[in-house]
């Protein structure tokens, strides 16, 4: 292959790195109204009265909207394929506020200063209610987060409004109780994972205007332009044909921008005023009034025989979805779906529990999407089992992991590809496991190693569909039209690599366009690790179709059969040495009567979601006097099928690992007793800096996924999952105590050490 497998630089890399005006805010019209939101100071309150008269009177204020001024149709902001499994539990504004940060009023003014002043002049009379803040107390709590009766679910997701249950889920295969009873060894533990902020550097933002035809145009930093259009249509009671959503460059998403946080606010201002409007969330708003990872409690029971075969896996999970149910049922199910099938010697598995409402920041999509939480709990329990059995944890995995060709007990599907066994073996050698496991005491400090494995998916099996179009332009170059959204991952680049590979051309002849709902072929957006795998396959098919059409067209000009014509990417050669260049063919395809511009168009959805795998190894050093954990080295060996672009894959991996390290060690979410988020800035919510991470090393053990483009699987999310359990394992090996609550702050480690 000429391009697939090469470390091609990102096509937009230079422009974005050097600060060219390409992001949403850079493109907003200079005369756009500035939109600001009044957020609730209370975790739960009924708005008795709201007086906007003084605010509206301020010169330069264009509008002030409250719950009285918005449509009354409930919707979800979750960026999922319709019909969304997330509950329709939102209004644009409501007379009930459900968390500190919930929206109370929308203000639009000629500039920021005026909008801010108007916000301060709105008088709200609240009846403060008792909030539900502890998610373990939510079910059956006397306070009901969603008392409204017009809430709607598209599916039976086990929603039980009056008991604060957003979703219920249960998968059980085999007889779990009998298998646990028959096991020689059973380990049991309850684990807690915290909410985590996506903390993308570009906060949420959008702007909107009416175009020449009076249609609403919304430009947004979003992962899901087509879903945003649908959300807007429903929430604003507008036909989708009247709406166009454009996605420019995105300054990071990590799942946060799979939830349409701000678009509706700009859009409603434009609809009400007829004027362009823009909204840019500050960092504090992004922390307090958007979405985060779901915090979870996971109770795990593992049963195994003496020889170390895991026979039963039981996980009971409780997930905190906060005030609204975006992604509540799906994140919940993924936590089991992407962690239990790893151990395929099990005769019985069960994963069950609830996602519950609380009066806190809504949870939403975040990289790993539940698999991160599930992996932390299951992998920690497997490491605990290794201890109980006296088996090396790498050896325990070797005995139990699913292999390519096996049918997984959880999904009852054949696993098409896996090199996880090789990943474990290689990682073990690279970290120096035999010399370092379990610990080396250095006196004041102790060093230890730990490990974990994980899997994710590639796209949503049987649901999501991507389309792609490749056009041959008049002078012989190509336009690749995509509806997927490159949020910095380099997906536009790798998709162009795939198209160029099929068409045997170079990167510079491929023009990539994404994404604009007026122009782009439909794509569900970039999430669920779907872009390289699902959209990639659509690109391969579309480019293949165009390639065939090029040959057929050339054959017609040569009065030959298509089978007699060969194409090397620039010249078509027929019988008896007849040739035509692609450029000439392209030109002739657009001149004169009876011509047809050549293009390939394809849609692709996959009936399976092939998992990528990672084996992660951590080496830590712990200060015995303070409990501070320093990560010295982290090694991840990854099976993402064929590596389409090694440089971009490596960076994806390094970045995901560091987010996982943040979850493991630093990122601490704290609320005060009234339910206000205390960790609402980078001052108080610490994501890893470059000093905090030690050395992170990434290696690939390629496999070949038969259903993927050129054998590729996904990589975006899977890399997020191993750090937390591997670091917890290393800490256990260092200090002899298991920690079960993230993050591993020095206080927690010290307390565990001296207990």
């Amino acid at each position: 292959m000429k391009l697939v497998g090469k470390g091609v630089p990102k096509i937009d890399g230079l422009a974005i790195a050097t600060g060219k005006p390409l992001y949403t805010e850079d493109l907003a019209p200079a005369n756009a109204l500035v939109v600001k939101i009044l957020h609730s100071p209370h975790a739960s309150a009924r708005i008795k009265a709201i007086d906007t008269a003084v605010a509206e009177g301020v010169e330069g204020v264009a509008c002030v909207l409250t719950h009285k001024d918005v449509p009354k149709v409930r919707f979800t902001l979750a960026g999922q394929t319709y019909p969304e499994p997330s509950p329709y539990d939102r209004l644009i504004l409501e007379d009930l506020v459900r968390y500190v940060g919930d929206e109370v009023a929308i203000v639009a003014a000629v500039d920021e200063r005026t909008a801010q002043r108007a916000l301060e002049l709105i008088k709200v009379d609240y009846e403060v209610l008792t909030p539900v803040l502890d998610f373990e107390q939510a079910i059956g709590h006397p306070s009901v987060v969603h008392p409204e009766t017009d809430l709607h679910c598209n599916f039976d997701i086990g929603h039980d409004r009056l008991r604060n249950i957003a979703a219920t889920h249960k998968v059980e295969v085999g007889d779990i109780a009998a298998e646990l009873a028959a096991s020689d060894v059973v380990v049991e533990e309850t684990y807690y994972t915290q909410a985590q902020a996506q903390a993308m550097m570009e906060t949420y933002r959008a702007f909107s205007y009416l175009d020449h035809a009076g249609r609403l145009v919304v430009v947004s930093s979003t992962q899901i332009p087509f879903h945003v259009r649908r959300h807007l249509a429903r929430a604003l009671e507008l036909p989708a044909s009247r709406i166009r959503v454009i996605k420019p460059r995105i300054g990071g998403g990590f799942g946060g921008k799979q939830t349409a946080v701000v678009e509706i606010f700009a859009a409603i201002v434009t609809l009400r005023t007829g004027r362009p409007a823009k909204i840019v969330y500050e960092r504090k708003e992004t922390f307090t009034a958007t979405n985060s990872r779901h915090a979870m409690r996971l109770k795990v029971r593992l049963g195994a025989d003496r020889g170390g075969l895991i026979r039963a896996i039981d996980v009971q999970c409780l997930s905190d979805t906060g005030a609204y149910g975006e992604h509540a049922p799906t994140v919940f199910s993924v936590a089991g779906e992407k962690s239990l099938p790893l151990y395929n010697k099990a005769r019985a598995v069960r994963y069950a529990g609830h996602a519950v409402y609380t009066n806190k920041l809504p949870a939403g999509a975040m990289r790993g999407y539940g698999a991160t939480q599930g992996c932390f709990a299951v992998e920690s329990a497997v490491n605990k089992l290794a201890d109980a059995l006296g088996i090396d944890p790498c050896e325990l995995r070797r005995k139990n992991i699913i292999r390519a060709g096996e049918i997984d007990i959880y999904h009852n599907r054949i696993l098409g590809s896996s090199s996880l066994d090789r990943c474990i073996e290689r990682g073990r050698e690279l970290i120096g496991w035999l010399d370092k496991y379990p610990r080396r005491d250095l006196g004041g400090k102790v060093r230890a190693v730990g490990m974990a494995v994980t899997m994710q998916g590639s796209g949503i099996a049987g649901i999501d569909t991507a389309s792609a179009e490749v056009r041959l332009n008049d002078d012989g170059n190509y336009t690749l039209l995509l509806g997927s959204t490159d949020m910095g991952t380099g997906s536009d680049t790798i998709l162009a690599q795939m198209a160029a590979e099929v068409l045997e051309t170079s990167m510079d002849t491929i023009i990539v366009h994404a994404a604009d709902t007026d122009v782009s072929p439909f794509d569900t957006g970039s999430y669920a690790s779907s872009t390289a795998y699902v959209t990639g396959m659509a690109v391969v098919k579309a480019a293949g179709e165009l390639r065939e059409k090029i040959i057929v067209a050339a054959a017609a000009l040569m009065n030959a059969a298509p089978a007699e014509v060969t194409f090397d990417g620039s010249i078509l050669t027929g019988p008896a040495g007849a040739t035509i260049t692609l450029a000439e063919l392209a030109q002739r395809s657009v001149v004169g009567p009876d011509r047809r511009q050549l293009s390939g168009y394809a849609s692709h959805g996959s009936p399976v979601s092939p998992p990528p795998f990672v084996a992660g190894f951590a080496e830590v050093e712990i200060d015995k006097e303070t409990g501070k954990v320093e990560l010295l080295d982290y090694i991840a060996v990854i099976d993402c099928g064929t590596v389409v672009n090694p440089n971009l894959a490596r960076i994806q991996a390094e970045g995901g690992l560091v987010q996982g390290i943040g979850l493991a060690l630093y990122e601490d979410v704290k609320y005060d007793e009234r339910g206000a988020l205390q960790t609402n800035s980078f001052m108080t919510y610490k994501i890893p800096s470059r000093k905090d991470i030690g050395t992170v090393r990434v290696f690939f053990e390629e496999s070949y996924e038969p259903t993927g483009p050129f054998g590729a699987k996904s990589i975006g999310e899977v890399v997020n999952n191993t750090p937390a359990p591997a670091i917890v394992h290393a800490v256990r090996n260092a200090i002899g105590a298991w920690l079960t609550r993230l993050p591993l702050t020095p206080e927690k480690v010290y307390a565990a050490m001296v207990k």
Binding site: T18, G19, A199, M201, G252, I651, G655
Partner: protein, 150 residues
């Protein structure tokens, strides 16, 4: 109030409010590379040079800039692009939103430190957060950039 500043070598008179921050003044003046990521001086996205020193423009009052010399990435385009090519070759820009501030700090470091160790590089750049890349690729690019010089 009026301030007279030199931006990227060009003398300019700007009208600014007393409480206006330099990051906002510069964006309003058309320097799109200026990004705000945090408002609490933690992220480094808004880094520009003031009289040659890397400084957070979100925590600098524009009024105090009267008579000073400001450099944004647009003012060092050639050198910035030379480093950006190495960064992009590593994939070390990813979403790119933090890159202008990061690059301004890297270029300042190159002027300030002679033959820095990995540790010194990391220390100098610690104030520049990046949520995408995990920093390792950025370090690889910085080291290549410093080698190119020597």
């Amino acid at each position: 109030m009026k301030i007279e500043v030199t931006i990227n070598g060009q003398k300019t008179v700007l009208e600014v409010a007393a409480d206006e921050l330099l990051a906002d003044t510069l964006r309003a003046a058309g320097f799109a590379s200026i990004r705000r990521g945090c408002d609490t001086t933690n992220c480094g996205l808004c880094t520009v040079w003031i009289d040659g020193k890397p400084t957070l423009s979100c925590a600098t009052l524009s009024a105090r800039m009267d008579g000073h010399d400001i450099t944004t990435i647009e003012g060092v385009a050639g050198e910035a692009e030379a480093f950006a090519r190495l960064l992009v070759a590593e994939g070390g820009e990813q979403c790119g939103f933090c890159s202008p501030g990061f690059i301004m700090t890297v270029l300042a470091m190159k002027r300030e430190l002679a033959d820095p160790t990995d540790e010194a590089i990391t220390h100098y750049l610690t104030g520049n957060l990046c949520r995408c890349t995990g920093y390792m690729g950025q370090l690889r690019a910085v080291k290549k950039f410093l080698e190119v010089r020597s």
